[in-house]
């Protein structure tokens, strides 16, 4: 239940899987330089579920793009398993916010999920089996023949999650994955992700502007604020594997943590 105070105190015995050191990112140069991220340090352990929460426009998406290797930071490093990231990496998969645009409309759901495997040279039979299995894992067994545009938003996002799972990366990065679905679907997807994480043991980093979502899902919540973004707080949630949309959110620890994050964000 420990809610620790400052980022410096978060020390872990095991070597972290993902390590961010002195990450700084800006666009432009000289007078017009726009600093987005300032000297960020993060550690994520193997099998951990980390939420990164912060107000809109604070630079969360930029941070995620740096973590995934889609953009190169100005300075600082991101490393996975001790290996420094300088581009998209085998151990990193991303679930994008914009599921409707990141799924390819000319492919069936199954082909979409199998596509990254095809890129890796996996044979047709094997990659289809893997895709089928992962579709089943997100609750879409036997739906592989459908096209993404024949599905609801929530189902499409499940496909995107299945695709990331099928890629079998060590770290799953999720950028506001549930921001464009309705509340009930959102709860279902949140619970799906929790289940998948505990059954598969995959490491997840999820970016969101929703404090409740961040707290509900994560083992550790990293709070970003200010411009350029800096880490203003790190909270270990300690809710364990079994969470419930009603009970967990009514838990005094949850309420306390939410208040603490809100204070943090207001004070900055």
């Amino acid at each position: 239940m420990a809610i620790q105070a400052a980022p410096e105190q978060v020390q872990v015995a095991t070597k972290p899987l993902l390590h961010v050191q002195g990450l700084t990112m800006s666009y432009g140069a000289g007078d017009s330089e726009n600093k987005i991220l300032n000297d960020l340090n993060l550690e994520v352990n193997d099998g951990e579920f980390v939420s990164i929460v912060g107000p809109s426009g604070v630079g969360k998406t930029t941070l995620l793009r740096c973590l995934s290797g889609l953009v190169q930071p100005r300075s600082g490093t991101v490393s996975v398993g001790g290996e420094i990231i300088n581009g998209p990496h085998r151990d990193l998969a991303v679930v994008f916010q914009d599921y409707s645009r990141s799924l390819l409309p000319w492919m069936t759901t199954l082909e979409n999920v199998a596509f990254p495997l095809q890129g890796r040279g996996v044979g047709k039979k094997e990659r289809n089996e893997t895709a089928e299995k992962n579709l089943a894992a997100v609750g879409l067994a036997g739906q592989g023949h459908k096209y993404p545009w024949e599905m609801s938003g929530g189902m499409q996002q499940r496909v995107a999650i299945a695709r990331a799972l099928a890629y079998n990366a060590k770290v799953l990065l999720m950028d506001e994955p549930f921001a464009s679905v309705d509340a009930q679907t959102r709860f279902d997807l949140e619970d799906l992700v929790i289940d998948l994480q505990s059954s598969l043991g995959v490491t997840i980093i999820l970016v969101t502007h929703d404090i409740d979502e961040a707290l509900y899902l994560a083992d550790k919540v990293i709070v970003l604020a200010e411009k350029p973004a800096t880490v203003v707080d790190v909270i270990e949630t300690g809710f364990g594997d079994h969470r419930d949309q009603v009970d967990t959110k009514a838990d005094p620890r949850f309420v306390e943590a939410r208040a603490r994050i809100l204070h943090r964000l207001r004070d900055h």
């Binding site: 889609l70 085998r90 998969a93 645009r101 990141s102 390819l104 000319w106 095809q118 890129g119 545009w149």
Partner: protein, 259 residues
């Protein structure tokens, strides 16, 4: 469409036929009133020469000549335009280097080159094919480049994250995402092909529908000139509808996502 009842559709068809009839009636009244030059044919003369054209060997061979030149020029343009367009559209430096040249080419009225082309190639079917191909190239090229260049940022990110190799990326991502645009280019250029083929025939007296229209007009056979014009329009219209239909069938996913 599907929801409208059969009787309603019949009503629409009747009204459409009535509209055509009204148009013809107006035409006839204008002829009688004498506002149009005396040579303009009336509805009856027009109908009989349309019928006559259908049984005349001259008409069918002229149609075949026009269609051969139009279709072969169009096919050449489609092949060249797609290949070049995919290449230019996916290589940024090439795209920038060629942009002014392509903007110039697409706004160039190729038919203005006719006297020059006739000097070089003569008033032959080959010349006609070349002019058609030159005119059809631009819409295919421009659309293909745009389609290849336009890839959605989310798709680009996805492809990068999953480290899709170049060839697979081309085959399964770039090509399908550019296909609707290529299809549009192909469709636009098909109408242009007929248009230019007839234009070439009008200007150069290369055998075909266009030449027959000019000949008929010079012989004062105005009714058959109008009949040929009618068929030229009919052919253009059929091709456009046919390609529209085919596009809807083949690119089902695109229509769906646009909804």
């Amino acid at each position: 469409m599907k929801t409208s009842t059969k009787s309603l559709d019949w009503g629409l068809t009747t009204q459409r036929l009535l509209a055509v009839a009204a148009l013809l009636a107006i035409w006839q009244v204008v002829i009688w009133s004498g506002t149009l030059p005396s040579m303009t044919p009336g509805v009856a003369a027009l109908a009989s020469s349309i019928g006559a054209a259908l049984t005349s060997a001259t008409f069918w061979s002229a149609l075949a000549q026009t269609m051969t030149a139009a279709v072969s020029g169009w096919l050449i343009a489609v092949a060249a335009g797609t290949v070049l367009g995919l290449l230019i559209g996916s290589v940024r430096a090439l795209d920038r280097s060629t942009s002014i040249l392509i903007d110039f080419g697409r706004s160039f009225p190729v038919l203005a080159l006719m006297p020059v082309v006739i000097m070089l190639l003569g008033a032959t079917a080959k010349m006609e094919t070349v002019v058609v191909a030159l005119s059809c190239l631009w819409p295919v090229l421009v659309q293909t480049i745009y389609g290849a260049r336009r890839m959605d940022s989310a798709v680009v990110d996805t492809v990068r994250i999953f480290q899709i190799p170049a060839l697979l990326r081309f085959r399964r991502v770039l090509l399908p995402s550019a296909t609707p645009f290529i299809a549009t280019g192909i469709r636009i250029s098909a109408s242009i092909a007929i248009l230019v083929a007839v234009g070439v025939e009008v200007l150069s007296q290369t055998p075909g529908i266009g030449r027959q229209i000019t000949l008929a007009q010079q012989d004062q056979r105005w009714d058959s000139a109008f009949a040929y014009l009618f068929f030229a329009g009919l052919v253009g219209w059929s091709i456009a509808s046919l390609l529209n239909f085919a596009e809807g069938r083949i690119l089902k996913w695109n229509r769906q996502t646009n909804d």
